[in-house]
């Protein structure tokens, strides 16, 4: 990899090949940093590829800075070059939540997910949709949960987008930690409503239910639709 920006980094080591980016751990002076590089994908049209990498790098940077300002634990941005699809950020040392979830005690998990709920509430309150809430995108560092990967984040105040964000998180929990998912999601909701208020939280939860039955081949769909019509 050409080292145009962040050229002072040394001791580079690839620590992860994510879906759209390569994560490189490196030293910048005395800091340990992560270089997130959105590499061109050979399976895409070059014009399309360039556009999507540029847009996402800019958006991710903006939102990370803003989330940090809101007091949400997440990596700090050190340097950015959208043309290269490069972001240099803090390295958060610790295991991913998905990897250690089964080893933690229930009460501890409850606390963690309650806090995560609060973070999501804070983001939504300020019109930020994370867009990819999964337990792989949460790191436990010194007993603090860090949100990472704002690569699919965007700005929106719409109920629909908040609902989709929550729905995706719930589904991610169900598909990876099925037996715990209900317990965990309840805790998330608890933290979430404390931040954005019970009223607003209920609206979002209702939206999540609506989104679920919108899915294909869901049995309650027809019934729910006719109920909705009755209400109107």
């Amino acid at each position: 990899m050409e080292n145009r920006r962040g050229r002072h980094t040394v001791g580079e080591e690839v620590i992860g090949i994510g879906a759209e980016a390569i994560l490189i751990k490196a030293k910048l002076y005395s800091f340990t940093v992560i270089k997130k590089v959105r590499v061109p994908k050979s399976y895409r049209d070059p014009a399309f590829d360039e556009l999507i990498r540029y847009n996402r790098t800019v958006m991710e940077t903006k939102i990370m800075i803003e989330a940090k300002a809101l007091g949400i634990p997440c990596p700090s941005v050190i340097e950015v070059d959208p043309h290269e699809g490069l972001i240099v950020m803090d390295y958060i040392d610790g295991p991913r939540l998905s990897d250690i979830l089964n080893k933690l005690r229930r009460s501890h998990l409850g606390r963690i997910f309650y806090t995560v709920g609060k973070y999501i509430g804070k983001l939504h309150e300020n019109g930020i949709i994370h867009g990819d809430l999964t337990t792989s995108n949460m790191i436990l560092h010194n007993d603090t949960v860090y949100l990472i990967d704002f690569g699919l984040s965007y700005y929106s105040h719409q109920l629909e987008d908040k609902g989709v964000d929550m729905h995706l998180f719930l589904r991610a929990l169900e598909s990876t930690h099925y037996s715990l998912s209900k317990f965990l999601f309840d805790k998330v909701i608890k933290g979430y409503s404390e931040v954005i208020g019970e009223n607003e939280a209920n609206k979002v939860i209702e939206k999540v239910k609506e989104i679920r039955i919108r899915g294909r081949y869901v049995k309650e769909r027809r019934k729910a639709k006719s109920n909705l019509r009755h209400k109107e």
């Binding site: 090949i17 994510g18 879906a19 759209e20 994908k41 050979s42 399976y43 895409r44 049209d45 014009a47 399309f48 556009l51 999507i52 867009g131 990819d132 809430l133 999964t134 792989s136 699919l152 989709v164 964000d165 995706l168 589904r171 991610a172 169900e174 598909s175 990876t176 099925y178 037996s179 989104i211 679920r212 919108r214 899915g215 294909r216 081949y217 869901v218 049995k219 309650e220 769909r221 027809r222």
Partner: protein
């Protein structure tokens, strides 16, 4: 998903009938598929030997699949298809076959009812157990069988489905899916509206090969989910405006739609860390999509496999094979309860035959 309705449907677990014997013995099952445009009869064994696979596909003269007309087609060809399958198999239906499997859903009601009626009649007449099979699960199982995959991430793309899933804790779990219309449907409708014919995917792809310029169209990925309706609306609007070459538009809709699927597949692969990826369903025949996924898998050192063309679209053999697997675990359904289920999600089905 908390979905109580229809879940107690199954007789769960082993031991409903001849348990020990059935588990050790090779079972032969006749399967009937009629969820959409294909009426198919297949015979397969529980160890994965496909004896016959006879299918008749309804091709609409104009427009898309009309459920009633497709059902009429199915009832016309049902006897002949069944006869052909039995003749080809050289089996004695009374002695050699252990059960009748049928795709009870998901699919189009009128079409489903044809296959289900035939299956019920056969089961009653021959005094064989009737086995309920979920059409989507059958697509997964035939793909795993033909590609020899053990624990893959599965991409199921067709005219009726766009789902990314993997096995976890007794069932196939959905990681991502379309929030509105399926991939095949999106391209089919685009083709139909522009008079490119049915099925639309190969038609659009052929035109797209001559396209050069990429036109920016709505690209909608929400976490692991995709959405195609905005893309379709925009592509059709641009086509009607006529400012762009048709070749470029076809190229761009194919490029955008497939990139969305590949991206969510890539995310799911990174998230689940599976070592294998299997492509199944009717759109699995697309060489362009195969190529994109193959390149993506190379980046992640994952093995890429695709279901053979013969078993990509709907077929009877996949229902027979999945039925045989289910029968091994005593999954049957009383005739009087064998309603068709137009809506029947993948996560509702217990998968006792996958061992971890």
């Amino acid at each position: 998903m908390e979905n109580v309705v229809g879940q107690s449907f199954y007789i769960k677990g082993v031991g409903v009938y001849e348990s020990v014997e059935a588990l050790n013995r090779e079972l032969v099952v006749l399967g009937i598929e009629s969820t959409a445009h294909t009426y198919g009869v297949g015979i397969a064994t529980s160890s994965g030997h496909i004896i016959v696979n006879v299918n008749s596909v309804y091709v609409p003269i104009k427009g898309g699949i009309h459920p009633r007309e497709a059902a009429e087609h199915h009832s016309k060809v049902s006897a002949e298809t069944l006869k052909k399958a039995l003749e080809k198999s050289k089996l004695n239906v009374k002695d050699d076959i252990d059960g009748i499997a049928v795709a009870l859903g998901p699919g189009m009601g009128p079409c489903l009812r044809v296959g289900c009626s035939v299956a019920r009649a056969l089961a009653y007449y021959l005094d064989k157990p009737l086995i309920p099979v979920n059409h989507a699960i059958a697509h997964i199982e035939i793909a795993k069988l033909t590609t020899n995959a053990k624990d893959p991430l599965i991409i199921y793309v067709s005219g009726g489905n766009t789902v990314i899933m993997a096995y976890s804790e007794g069932r196939y779990r959905v990681f991502g899916e379309t929030l509105d219309i399926p991939l095949g449907n999106c391209i089919d409708v685009f083709a139909r509206e522009l008079g490119l014919g049915h099925p639309g995917v190969p038609a659009v792809e052929q035109v797209a090969r001559k396209g050069k310029k990429f036109i920016n169209l709505p690209y909608t990925v929400k976490g692991q989910d995709v959405s195609f309706s905005g893309l379709l609306t925009m592509a059709l609007r641009l086509a009607r405006e006529g400012k762009h070459r048709l070749e470029d538009l076809c190229y761009s809709i194919i490029e955008t739609a497939y990139n969305m699927v590949v991206e969510v597949a890539e995310r799911a692969l990174a998230h689940t860390r599976k070592r294998e990826l299997v492509l199944t369903g009717g759109v699995a025949r697309s060489r362009i999509l195969q190529e994109k996924l193959r390149k993506m898998c190379e980046l992640h050192d994952a093995r890429f496999a695709v279901v053979p063309d013969e078993y990509a679209g709907d077929n009877g053999a996949m229902i027979a094979y999945t039925g045989a697997l289910a029968l091994k675990y005593g999954i049957t359904i009383p005739l009087e309860e064998s309603y068709v289920k137009q809506r029947w999600r993948i996560e509702e089905v217990d998968i006792p035959w996958v061992k971890r």
